[in-house]
């Protein structure tokens, strides 16, 4: 494929991220953050990770927007405009340096979809070859989540359930 579609997606991602930081009011910042995580979900979908894209679209773009707005309207005063001081020079100098270091380190990572990368040499073949025999589940991702890492998933579910109970209790306190 000569044209790579992720470039306009990444441009949109950077635009929305910058907009969410630079905008002067909290409510549009929440909306722009929602569209940012939606574009992130599109990037995940485009590079072939639909499960991560599903989580990002549901949690990042849907639930997080709703919860940010709930927090804003339950706590904040009517004036949601921001008065932020200019950023310090240390941040302006240090963060590009950090970004440059991260990019430099990322040049050592294996190429995207490289069949000789360590992850696809050591771990993936074991799951791909044995999961059907071990778990009788056609979807390998489901078998890894629900069988090989069942305790991990169970405790995660407990954490999310607790968070849901806390949210319901907080949001219903006015109606008691």
């Amino acid at each position: 494929m000569t044209f790579s579609f992720e470039i306009p997606l990444l441009i949109l991602l950077i635009l929305t991220a910058g907009g969410a930081i630079l905008v002067k009011d909290l409510v549009p910042a929440v909306f722009i953050l929602g569209s940012y995580s939606f574009f992130l979900a599109l990037v995940w979908a485009w590079i072939g990770a639909p499960d991560v894209a599903f989580v990002e679209a549901v949690v990042g773009a849907g639930l997080a927007t709703v919860f940010f707005l709930l927090t804003l309207f339950e706590t904040a005063p009517k004036d949601t405009r921001l008065h932020r001081p200019p950023p310090p020079w240390a941040a302006l100098l240090g963060l590009p340096l950090l970004g440059f270091l991260l990019l430099y380190a990322a040049s050592d990572l294996p190429k995207f979809g490289d069949p000789a990368s360590p992850a696809s040499v050591h771990i993936s073949p074991v799951y791909l070859e044995n999961s059907m025999h071990d778990t009788l589940t056609p979807n390998v991702v489901t078998s890894v989540l629900m069988d090989y890492r069942a305790f991990d998933t169970l405790i995660e579910t407990v954490v999310i359930f607790t968070a849901g109970i806390a949210c319901v209790l907080l949001l219903r306190r006015n109606q008691a």
């Binding site: 494929m1 044209f3 579609f5 306009p8 997606l9 949109l12 635009l15 929305t16 907009g19 905008v23 409510v27 549009p28 909306f31 722009i32 929602g34 569209s35 939606f38 979900a41 599109l42 979908a45 485009w46 072939g48 639909p50 894209a53 599903f54 679209a57 549901v58 773009a61 849907g62 639930l63 927007t65 709703v66 707005l69 709930l70 309207f73 009517k78």
Partner: protein, 88 residues
């Protein structure tokens, strides 16, 4: 055929840019809510088109359905709390 779908994807991204301008710049909150809703409708189509490019439409239809449902909930929550704020 892939070229046609890529063309559709590019057109959709340009449309999303137009909506994004309204979300960032919109004079009132209602413009921004409408812009976000427009972006999410384009989003659903974009996800299905990406699924078509990859030949895995079934999975991507699931994603776009979940996104559409949560977008409905989000729009309802935004509308409800804007109404509350207007009264308070």
């Amino acid at each position: 055929m892939t070229f046609f779908f890529l063309f559709v994807l590019i057109i959709l991204v340009i449309l999303i840019l137009a909506y994004l301008y309204r979300v960032v710049q919109g004079p009132t909150v209602f413009d921004q809510v409408l812009g976000l809703n427009g972006i999410s409708t384009k989003a659903i189509i974009l996800l299905v088109v990406i699924g078509t490019v990859y030949g895995r439409v079934d999975m991507f239809v699931d994603i776009s359905t979940g996104y559409a449902l949560l977008n409905l909930v989000g729009a309802l929550a935004i509308a409800k709390f804007l109404e509350q704020r207007g009264r308070a």
